[in-house]
């Protein structure tokens, strides 16, 4: 302690007035960052909870719908994030050793990885947008079947015309009294329980990707012309969760990139060295957490057996 105080008596410019030593300030910053990370974990926990509930209730939706995700792109993105985490950890090391040039290069590379991740994410999102694989009400996968109108216009139409694909799901469960449903059961139980029989009957026993393009053999008049995604109901729930989870994660990637960009700018001005590298370390912790969450998202969303 005495040693620190001796050191702190110089009171370097980066040391705030209410801290006695740089060490105290560093540890306070680090503790603060870890506490913030714990709030981030709890923030994501809501989505993981929703995922767990819907997957437990309706595994068939997840098994069916995850085939629309490109697991190769998902794997590439995992590798990209892991590499960026590595360069970030290396950047912290460089800052500690005062290797300014290497620090800047590594931070820049980390940001580049961030751009790569977001680029691949963009390709995936664009594909889903065109395929109508969108969350909730906007789910309208006609592009896979090629016998429906294009995406545009459908969303608006859906509100008024129950015959379009997009609006069909709402109509089915609309047969249920909302209060009853809200009061008694989770999620989609009503769709299979209280919904009228002719609707439940048309769900074929075999589910899965094999029948993607095959027409449904059903006697129900209303939906005779509908195609196979009918086999599994409420597929839109998967895409709601997919977009919510990857969307929130993507926002965190963007935030992390901005923070690292700011740290890079300060590194280029030579503000960091062995005595003061707290911002590099804290930005690194944040970036690793973003990586850590993706490590769970990848198998949960892309690799469903």
């Amino acid at each position: 302690m005495n040693q620190h105080e001796a050191h702190g008596s110089e009171h370097p410019s980066f040391l705030a007035h209410h801290f006695a030593t740089p060490r105290q300030q560093f540890e306070a910053g680090k503790l603060g960052m870890w506490l913030f990370l714990s709030t981030e974990i709890l923030l994501f926990s809501g989505l993981f909870c929703a995922y767990a509930v819907y997957r437990a209730n309706h595994p068939e939706i997840f098994v069916y719908a995850h085939h629309f995700l490109d697991s190769t792109l998902g794997a590439i993105n995992t590798v990209v994030l892991i590499c960026s985490s590595f360069t970030m950890a290396w950047a912290v090391r460089s800052a500690q050793l005062g290797q300014k040039k290497r620090l800047c290069v590594l931070l820049a590379f980390t940001i580049l990885c961030g751009f790569g991740f977001m680029g691949i994410k963009f390709i995936e999102y664009r594909h889903k947008w065109h395929a109508g694989l969108l969350p909730g009400k906007h789910y309208n996968p006609q592009a896979h079947e090629g016998d429906h109108a294009p995406v545009s216009g459908h969303a608006d139409e859906a509100e008024h015309q129950p015959t379009t694909t997009a609006a069909r799901h709402p109509v089915e469960s609309a047969a249920v009294e909302p209060e009853h449903q809200a009061a008694t059961t989770p999620a989609s139980t009503p769709a299979s329980s209280t919904a009228s029989e002719e609707h439940t009957l048309q769900v074929p026993p075999t589910i899965g990707p094999a029948g993607l393009a095959a027409p449904v053999t059903t006697t129900a008049d209303v939906h005779a012309e509908e195609s196979t995604d009918e086999k599994v109901k409420n597929v839109q729930i998967f895409f709601s969760i997919y977009f919510a989870m990857t969307g929130l994660h993507g926002l965190h990637v963007l935030a992390g990139m901005s923070v690292i960009g700011w740290v890079l700018w300060r590194s280029m001005r030579g503000e960091f060295g062995p005595l003061y590298y707290t911002p590099v370390d804290l930005a690194g912790l944040y970036w690793h957490l973003v990586d850590l969450i993706w490590i769970y998202l990848f198998p949960l969303l892309y690799l469903i057996h």
């Binding site: 105290q24 306070a28 506490l35 509930v53 799901h169 469960s173 809200a182 709601s240």
Partner: protein, 556 residues
């Protein structure tokens, strides 16, 4: 151990020329300040404005209930007014009330630190509070919300009112709350001066620490909940919408995972304040220090395990119902430990009934009733009968109004320290009596009404309940008058009040060791720390109307 704490000569002399209020002047010096004391004062002003607003809504609700049919507003307006009352009081007043306003001001001083760990984050958190408040209140102009403060789906996602503004306001306020909690935890961990061990900290700090744990762990879940709700409403993604295969009960799980711990965010700091007040005004060492300290942390943790008791009638499974019911009862153990210790502290103490102590005693009474009626609601069988009646409203207000009582008590306790002025003790006690009386008339009536079956949130009611409702409204007006009296004499004291001594009450925690108002840096020298509940080092001095250090060597 040093029994008398410290009386650093440098801190006691009258340093009125340079205190935190006069350190710099001008609006800019306040808006951009990093001083925790000024940020605390800014919070206090904002919260009092929000409290006025929430109080006006409450008066409107009670006035509407003077007659069984429409009195002063339409049914739709009524729905909006009670929603605003709830949302404003909870998100804008009670949650930030004691931690952000009082905590910010006294936490670093009580700890013996110069500031909180992250002063800029602290200021940022204040501005987030302002932005969140503006967003939440903007919803009034943009089509006031009529969902109740709980925003239950599917109604909240289908109503045409400005739910998105209100919930995004709650989201921003949540971050304000998270950053305050984060700051407090780091401050308590890293900025304790030498000698300030964990078990020498005043109990108010333990309470704030426990509160901060909840703020950090529960608030993010509210964040994701309201974001999903807003996205649901804007884009119909269907996670909570049964028509799209979603689960409205899941929303309730999400919401109560935050909002039940949130009631402990509200009550724990109040309990911390009461622990200080009871000991100081009984002039007796706190009884069972460690029990009170640990019970704060226990409440914080147990508070996470009981959220399902809000959902007994929502179709939750009976297994979950039973477990949540059993866990709910367990929270009463640490709460009762606190009440017992407060009473034991007062036992054989020399109690002086100054205004803050009047509020502390009111709190114990009110919290006792609020806590005991919670047992009826935690019991599965009785809850079926009492759920969604005025019994719940009364229970909730007995606990939450208890927090407001503690807040006002804390305000009176630290007012001399914050402003350097004394208020009128006479009017202080009168106002406390009015508030206490009015509060009990308002809400005890509602217990009776609720157990007779009057449902909450209803616009109309049958004749049979008219006299209860009218009595309740009269009580509300008495409270209103009480608060107006408080506002008048506190405002008066700012200009005409007697100069406050450094230690008007005889407390021994560190904030009483620096002058009133405190200097900019809190302490000229980092103070050494004794037992903050040992009052033997102080003696009353009638000349300055406060306590001065007992001369060394003088017998007790």
């Amino acid at each position: 151990m040093s029994t008398t704490g410290v009386h650093p000569g440098s801190a006691l002399p009258d340093s009125r020329e340079s205190n935190y209020l006069t350190h710099k002047s001008g609006l800019g010096s306040w808006m951009m300040t990093l001083d925790h004391k000024r940020i605390g004062v800014m919070y206090l002003i904002s919260i009092l404005v929000a409290f006025l607003l929430g109080g006006i809504f409450a008066m409107l609700v009670r006035t509407e209930h003077l007659t069984p049919k429409e009195t002063i507003m339409s049914a739709d307006t009524y729905n909006q007014v009670f929603t605003l009352h709830g949302a404003v009081m909870i998100f804008l007043v009670i949650i930030p009330g004691i931690p952000a306003a009082m905590g910010n001001f006294v936490l670093p001083i009580m700890l013996g630190a110069k500031d909180v760990a992250f002063p800029r984050l602290n200021l940022c958190s204040y501005y987030l509070y302002v932005v969140g408040t503006v967003m939440a209140l903007a919803s009034i102009a943009l089509g006031a919300v009529d969902t109740g403060w709980t925003f239950y789906t599917p109604y909240s996602t289908t109503t045409n009112t400005a739910v998105i503004w209100m919930v995004m306001g709650a989201f921003v306020l949540g971050f304000s709350s998270i950053f305050t909690g984060l700051n407090f935890i780091v401050t308590i961990h890293r900025l304790r001066p030498p000698g300030m061990t964990w078990f020498r900290m005043p109990l108010f700090l333990w309470a704030l620490y426990a509160t901060a744990i909840i703020q950090l762990l529960a608030t993010p879940v509210l964040g994701i909940t309201v974001v999903l709700l807003a996205v649901e409403k804007a884009f119909h993604i269907g996670i909570f919408d049964p028509q799209l295969g979603g689960d409205p009960v899941l929303f309730q799980h999400f919401f109560w995972f935050y909002s039940h711990p949130a009631v402990y965010i509200m009550i724990l700091p109040a309990m911390g304040v009461i622990s200080e007040l009871i000991s100081v005004f009984s002039h007796k060492h706190i009884f069972g220090y460690k029990f009170i300290a640990y019970s704060s942390v226990a409440i914080a943790i147990l508070g996470f395990l009981v959220w399902g008791h809000h959902m007994f009638t929502s179709g939750q499974s009976s297994l979950a119902n039973m477990i949540f019911s059993a866990l709910t009862f367990s929270v009463s153990i640490p709460s009762a430990i606190k009440v017992f210790n407060w009473l034991a502290t007062m036992f054989k103490g020399s109690i002086s009934l100054e205004t803050p102590m009047c509020y502390a005693l009111s709190f114990i009474f009110i919290f006792g009733i609020g806590g005991l009626t919670g047992l009826f609601l935690g019991t599965l069988a009785t809850d079926i009968h009492l759920h969604d009646t005025y019994f719940v409203v009364a229970h909730f207000h007995y606990v939450m109004f208890g927090t407001m009582i503690a807040f006002v008590g804390a305000l009176h306790y630290w007012w001399p320290k914050m402003t350097g002025r004394m208020y009128s003790e006479f009017w202080g006690r009168i106002a406390c009596a009015l508030i206490f009386l009015g509060m009990n008339i308002t809400f005890f009536t509602q217990f009776v009404m609720g157990s007779h079956g009057m449902p909450r949130r209803y616009f109309n009611y049958i004749e049979q309940f008219a006299s209860y409702h009218q009595l309740s409204t009269v009580g509300a007006f008495i409270q209103g008058i009480g608060f107006i009296v408080v506002a008048i004499y506190l405002a008066h004291s700012l200009f005409r009040g007697r100069r406050a001594p450094a230690n008007p009450w005889g407390g021994n925690s560190l904030e009483w060791h620096c002058s009133s108002p405190p200097p900019h840096d809190n302490f000229a020298v980092t103070p050494t720390v004794g037992d903050c509940y040992d009052y033997s080092g102080w003696q009353y001095d009638a000349q300055i109307g406060g306590y001065i250090p007992r001369p060394v060597g003088a017998e007790h």
